[in-house]
Symmetry: C2
Subunit: 244 residues, 2 copies
DNA sequence: CGTAAAATTGATCTGTCTCAACGTGGGTGG
DNA sequence: CCACCCACGTTGAGACAGATCAATTTTACG
């Protein structure tokens, strides 16, 4: 398999062979992690940057009353926190949702990457996009109905998975539970179930045993009020003046 | 007035005199902007980084149905997007809430700051904290009741305003409307009104004509489930190995 | 196969919204 | 300097999206 990460970053910059070689090297010897395992917990000092190569992971926080809220999904090609050099304690936890293939990049590895201007720019882009996704999620939960929320999430994941070659047309693997979607959307799992049924009844999607098919993407997007601008795709070759 | 920004950044790093001089210089000749004016709109190419010196501003998005969602408050010492060099189009808008004193920093100015390692580190810290706040807001809206949400927001603003010297004990100016709080919390303005009344009746706060007094901070924090770790204060002098 | 996790269904309850009206205070023009 | 006015805050009543509780069915997997 061609390097996922290369593919993702090339959506934004064009990488030299040396850059690509480094990325290949970085993704060597991944660790296999089972589903529902913590990679790092709130309060810990992040020593490494996690990079997901396969499977779905998430950021989450626990509330005092035992409820969990998921704040982000990490799909293949996504990084855990690049703030290793700045912040001393994690303010949230990172866990796998499905079984994952993961690499833990130690600080020197990150420095190596940041020393290459193009890669540094690309990594910065990644973290800005992650932040933009977070903003969109806030709007999603704050201002949309349950149906729209879920529809919006499914649209977003399609685009994100496409950029790493993991969505074939309008189909992708979604190896997560309805209860996990509930914890993500601030809904009860019962309601998520009914929402999914409605989306199926409307012939917008089909979802069975972890396989999602978007049956009518145009309608789903309209229904969700989905505007992909926040993913900042198609801003390739940002030919702004150099910043280095 | 001692430079706000200096005070804020010194919560994290210790600045040299030269750093401070640059910060003073950067904050020179602010522009006065009235309440409810856009600084930059979704879709535009950010040319400058806005820095708020006085007043409250916000990030927001408009939905197709005309609803607005506020995704962040910018208080004095906060920066608009530092991604000037990376992203081509704003995915959200920036506007004042109250009358503001603002500076628009052009790119060369930002570069000047980034060239100083300590300042660069401090700015990076700022943007990581902004992101952490965003995550906490997501949890806030996704998992807490209306009362807890508002209480949480008021706790957060107290700490943020303290770090720039704008909260005197447990009192601060909150120059925003109940309808704006509603757009922030994903609630109706009618409900925000009732929530505030309940917080007043419980003798947790007093809020009148833009002046907030937190009457019982300990109880308010407990009630809101407020854990300040995400603001990453008290991580001063992050003596991690150099990253430059 | 057997068993536990996940999905589904039904019934009821409640937090929050919507609509509609009314009160109020601070800014402004006469 | 007063009176008006408009944005903001407040109140009440009724509606509804989504929660909760409690089974029951289906699926995945050892």
């Amino acid at each position: 398999m061609a390097n996922l990460l290369t593919r993702k970053l090339e959506a934004f910059v064009s990488l030299s062979d040396a850059d690509k070689r480094l990325l290949d090297d970085v993704a060597r010897r991944p660790r296999l992690v089972g589903a529902r395992e913590d990679l790092i917990r709130e309060g810990e000092d992040p020593a490494d940057v996690y990079l997901i190569l396969e499977g779905f992971a998430c950021r989450y926080k626990m509330l005092a009353d035992g409820r969990r809220h998921i704040m982000a999904y990490l799909v293949p090609g996504d990084f855990g926190d690049l703030h290793v050099f700045i912040l001393k304690a994690m303010d949230h936890s990172l866990a796998t949702l499905s079984p994952c293939r993961v690499v833990a990049l130690p600080r020197p590895r990150i420095l190596e990457m940041f020393e290459r201007p193009v890669l540094a720019r690309a990594l910065w882009w990644c973290s800005l996009v992650d932040e933009a996704v977070l903003r969109e999620w806030l709007v999603n939960i704050g201002a949309r109905t349950a149906e729209e929320r879920v529809a919006h999430l499914l649209c977003e994941l399609l685009l994100r998975l496409r950029t790493v070659g993991l969505a074939d047309g309008t189909t992708y693997e979604l190896p997560i539970t309805q209860a996990e979607i509930a914890d993500t959307m601030g809904l009860s799992h019962v309601h998520v179930n009914r929402v999914l049924q409605r989306l199926r009844r409307e012939k917008l999607i089909s979802l069975k045993s972890g396989s999602l098919v978007i049956l009518d993407l145009a309608r789903l997007k309209t229904f969700a009020g989905f505007n992909p601008n926040y993913l900042h795709l198609g801003e390739r070759n940002g030919s702004h003046e150099a910043w280095h």
